[in-house]
Each structure stands twice: as C-alpha cells, then as structure tokens.
C-alpha cells in the first residue's frame, strides 16, 4: 500500500524553451502529497524548472497546481502571487533582519491569512525558539537552512520548492535537516518538490521521483519503482542499492533485533528501529547481497531469503547485475551485483531459484504507521 494508490490532486508541470543555449522540453506530473525529487546530473535543467515553477524564470508552458492554473498560454501569475515556498541552495536570509523578522517577513504577506501553520507551530517544529533574536550572521549552516525552511512555510504555501537544500551542508547538518524535513512532512502535509543530484539524499527523503536528463524527463514515478527499474541507470550504478519499505512486526529485546515484514518475506534489522506496526524505509547495498544455490547453513548471516532471478545484466568489466524477486505475486525486488567469475562458476540462469544472503540492512527513513 503506497500513498499513490489513493487519488490525490496532481501537480502538472510542462515547460519548453531555450535557456542560455540549452534546450528544455519537460513534462511531468507529481502528487500534491509527499516529497518528490527532481533528480538528475548537474546542468540538466533541474534548477531552471524549479525556478519556472516559482515564476522566477519564464519559459513557455503550463503549470497547474490541483485546480489552480499558474501559467498557460495566456496567463502568467507573478512570483509574489503564487502560493509557493522556495528554499534556495544558500539559505539567503535577509542579513539586515533578525531571525524573527525574517520569519515574519513572509507570514505578514501571506496570500491567505487564515490557512497554514502558526508562528509558534513552525518555530517549535523547526527548533527555532532559541534563535529568534539572533542575526543570521551568527547562525550555523544548518540553523540558517532551518530558518529559511521555516520562513518559507510561514507563507502558507501550497507547494514547497527546495533547490538542493542540503548541498552546502556538512554531514551532521544534513542529518539534522533531514530529520526536520521528515517531521514537517508528517505534521504539515504540504507537497515538497526538491532538486537534488545526490541519490542518497533522494533515497532518504523522496516518495516520488522525476528523473531528468539534458533538459527532458527520462522517467517519473514512485521512487522505489524507478530505483529498481533495470532500464534506468540506478540499478547498475557502482553504489546501487535496493530501497524497500517494511513494517516492524516483532522486536526481540534479548538480541536487540527488529523483524520487519516486506513484500514476499521478512528481514531482521539490528536495533529497535521503530514501534510494532510502524513502517520504515530500508536500504540494502547491492554489494551486500550474495547468492547461494543451495540453502546456506551454519552462517552468521541472519537474513536468508529465497528468490528468483528475474533479470541478468552485465554492468561493467567483470561485474554482473541481477534483479531478484522474492516469492509471491508482488514480491519485493532486490538488486545484487556479483562478479563475472561467480556468475560463470554457478551458471545462473533467468527464473532460477536461489538463496539470497543479506549482509547489511540499514534504516534510512521513518514513514510512520
């Protein structure tokens, strides 16, 4: 059960034109709920598209947010009349205003005064209470970005746009912002569209993905579908990984081990990663999956699942990528990278039943119940 199964209003984006000798022809839709990643290599036009959605750049096209049209062939709503929140790559706080004045700047001018979160809600949600009277000069990178996000949210946006909000931050600050984004996502139900060129960020944040390449859309859809798609570059990347969602079904306090049900099996994950019934997003690196033709016995590996080989693809010299389906109609798919030699020695074939040994599973996102 994914949220996409429920009918939600769509946001439709279509732009075409030339920006600085670069051709853009983009059309995609995404649900007005959850977090969507606009993903692609640097220079593929992601930021231009985001700026067009905000009305900061103008290309011909069409932009519809649910029932509202912000741009079409005759209409172009200027930026300040669009109910967006925009978080720039650098926090871009106003240096002559305090944190509090920065936050109030947009709230005072919000298009709808009644809807939307209150000042106190946002400051406590984003952990800004202690910072209110400070000048932006005296904030850390992570704090600045939190203020920028809070400031955008206080304008009661119908869509929050974020341009690589994590790229300028160190690892600790990245984790901090991701935690806050998860919290606000749960609390506010504002759709977020964020631009990123870092697949790890996308894995941890997004529910939905639009993959861009040289100004056009290569693929779009639910995140997990795209990541597992063998025709897309993700599954064959050197650092490929399987992203799965599972529900916590048991926790063993003696061994400190959680068990999660996934489609077509269960997985043990070290530590208490959530309450029973809660859903978690898990990451299994493709190089952490090894295969065995016979049931492995007397091994330290806890997660051994039976699966079927559904796709075989050479990915580089000496390396083969396999897609493995767990049992059942809608069984989860795992991505495994093995050496050419193992592949030849064991003579793997399509549709062959094998045993999957998973060395490491990590929890990357809390999804609630």
């Amino acid at each position: 059960m994914r949220s996409e199964d429920v009918e939600v209003p769509k946001i439709e984006v279509q732009f075409e034109g030339t920006k600085e000798n670069f051709k853009i022809n983009t059309h995609f839709t995404f649900p007005s709920r959850g977090i969507t990643a606009l993903f692609g290599p640097s220079g593929c036009g992601k930021t231009t598209i985001l700026r067009c959605i905000a009305g900061l750049n103008r290309l011909n096209g069409k932009l519809r947010i649910g029932a509202e049209t912000w741009q079409d062939s005759i209409r172009f709503i200027p930026t300040h009349k669009r109910a967006i929140g925009y978080v720039f790559q650098e926090a871009s706080l106003f240096p002559h205003l305090t944190v509090k004045q920065n936050l109030l700047f947009g709230q005072k001018r919000a298009l709808s005064k009644t809807a939307g979160p209150t000042f106190d809600e946002i400051t406590s949600l984003m952990g800004l209470d202690a910072l209110l009277n400070r000048s932006p000069d005296y904030l850390s990178g992570g704090e600045r970005q939190r203020v920028a996000i809070g400031r955008a949210l206080l304008t009661s946006p119908k869509l929050l746009l974020m341009d690589e909000p994590l790229s300028g931050l160190d690892l600790a600050a990245k984790d901090e912002i991701i935690t806050y984004l998860d919290k606000l996502h749960e609390a506010l139900k504002i759709p977020i569209l964020f631009v990123s060129h870092d697949i790890r960020e996308v894995e941890r944040l997004a529910d939905h993905m639009v993959l861009m390449e040289k100004g056009h859309v290569r693929a779009q859809g639910p995140l997990l579908d795209l990541l597992n798609d063998p025709t897309l570059p993700f599954a064959s990347a050197d650092d490929a990984a399987t992203i799965l969602e599972g529900r916590v079904i048991t926790f063993d306090p003696t061994d400190h081990l959680s068990e999660l049900s996934i489609q077509g099996g269960t997985l043990f994950v070290p530590g208490k990663i959530g309450e029973i019934g809660e859903t978690r997003r898990l990451r299994i690196s493709a190089s952490d999956i090894s295969l065995s033709v016979t049931p492995p016995s007397r091994t330290t590996i806890l997660n051994i699942i039976e699966a079927k080989i559904t796709s075989i693809q050479p990915i580089s010299h000496g390396k083969i990528g396999l897609l493995l389906s767990l049992s059942g109609e809608d069984g989860a798919q795992l991505i495994s990278h093995i050496t050419q030699r193992s592949f030849n020695n064991l003579e793997f074939k399509l549709d062959q039943k094998i045993f999957v040994q998973i060395k490491g599973v990590s929890m990357i996102k809390r999804l609630g119940t």
Binding site: S92, F94, R109, A110, D137, T155
Partner: protein, 221 residues
C-alpha cells in the same frame, strides 16, 4: 560669512536630498536594466566627473536662458529665470553632483545581486514592496556614501556656481565663492578661517563616512 556658510549648507542639503530621491531609482535602473542603451545613460550621468565645471555651467546658462524653451518652462515654474538664482544653483548642483550619488548606490545594488529580490518575491513581496523593504536597507552603505559624497561635492562646487549663480550674497554666494572673493580682496584672515573650516569639515566627513560604512558593511554581510 555666516550667510555664505548657511547658504552653502542649505544648497548642499537640498541637493543631497533631491539626489537621493532622483538618483536612487536611476541607480536601480542602471543596475537592473538589460537594455543596450543603459550604458549611454550611465555615461551621461557620469559626464560631470570629467567635464570642466565651467563647460557644464556654460551650457546650463544657455539652456536656462529665458528665451530658450527650457528656460521659459523653468521661469513658469519658479516665477523667475533660473540663472543667478538659488534654484538655478540647485539645478546645476543636481547635475554636477549626480554621479557622486548614483555611482555608489548603483555599486551597492550591483553587489547585492538578484537573490534578495527573488527571495522577497517568493515571500509574497511585490517588486515595489521588496525594493523598499529589502533593496534599500541592503544598499545602506552605498546610500550613505552617495549622500556624503554628494553633499561634500556640492559644498566644494565652484565653477558651475560662478557660471550660473554669480555672486549674490544670500542667494548664490556660497563658501567657495566667498573664499575666492576674500582672496581677491586680499582679506587673507577671512580666507584662512573659511579654508581651514572647509579642510576640517572635509576631513571629518571622509573619516565618519569610512568608519560608518565599515560598520554597516560588517553588519550586512
């Protein structure tokens, strides 16, 4: 003597205020416009930097002659001809000191970049609202520099005043003219007092401006 000093201060103050009002939008336009002819306008604004003041004064004298179209329009507005009047001096000073205000303000707007205005737009501020609430406060160091330079430059004006203002006590006899007069009349003592006063004034102006600007800049980066 005091008449000249107060007249000079009055002229410089009025000129500075008017220049901030007129020069700031010009500086904004020069900073933001993408039209090809904006550098022509920029060059015209900057012209008094290199033009001999007497040349400027000469042309202003011609332009404001009561017989010329511009001159008759000015006469209709002010009730008298502009040359050899205080209003004439203000108009001359506006043109003469314009680059000293426009240039620093334009530099401040250039240094600010597009980002603050974009952020303001995404926070629902209309372009005009963003200009007053964001662009002007952020350009404060440039506005301060422009105001001080414009004021000081108007105080020191001589050539233009001589050409279009003449030497009417209480009306057009400003400090620089007074000093010239004293020297001509061999009143060295008076010339000394006024010149020393100007020297100290100019030094203080520059010092205060540099200190304040540094402080403002530190606050806004």
């Amino acid at each position: 003597m005091w008449e000249s000093i107060s007249l000079t201060i009055k002229l410089a103050s009025i000129t500075t205020i008017l220049l901030l009002v007129i020069g700031t939008p010009i500086a904004w336009w020069l900073s933001r416009s993408k039209s090809w002819w904006k550098e022509i306008i920029a060059a015209i604004v900057a012209l008094p930097l290199v033009l001999p003041p007497t040349v400027l004064g000469f042309y202003l004298l011609l332009a404001f002659a009561p017989s010329s179209p511009l001159g008759s329009a000015a006469t209709a507005i002010f009730g008298h001809a502009l040359p050899f009047s205080f209003e004439g001096l203000v108009v001359g000073s506006l043109i003469y000191s314009m680059p000293f205000v426009v240039q620093p303000v334009r530099n401040a707007f250039d240094a600010m970049g597009d980002r603050p205005m974009e952020v303001a737009a995404t926070l629902r501020a209309s372009p005009l609202n963003a200009f007053f609430c964001i662009a002007l406060p952020l350009a404060r160091p440039g506005l301060l520099t422009g105001a001080v330079l414009g004021f000081a430059h108007t105080v020191g004006e001589f050539g233009v005043v001589l050409m279009i203002g003449g030497n009417i006590p209480g009306e057009t006899k400003v400090l620089s003219i007074a000093i010239y007069d004293h020297v001509e009349a061999l009143e060295w003592g008076q010339a000394h007092i006024l010149s020393l006063g100007m020297l100290v004034f100019s030094f203080l102006i520059i010092l205060i401006m540099m200190v304040t600007e540094k402080r403002l800049r530190r606050r806004s980066t």
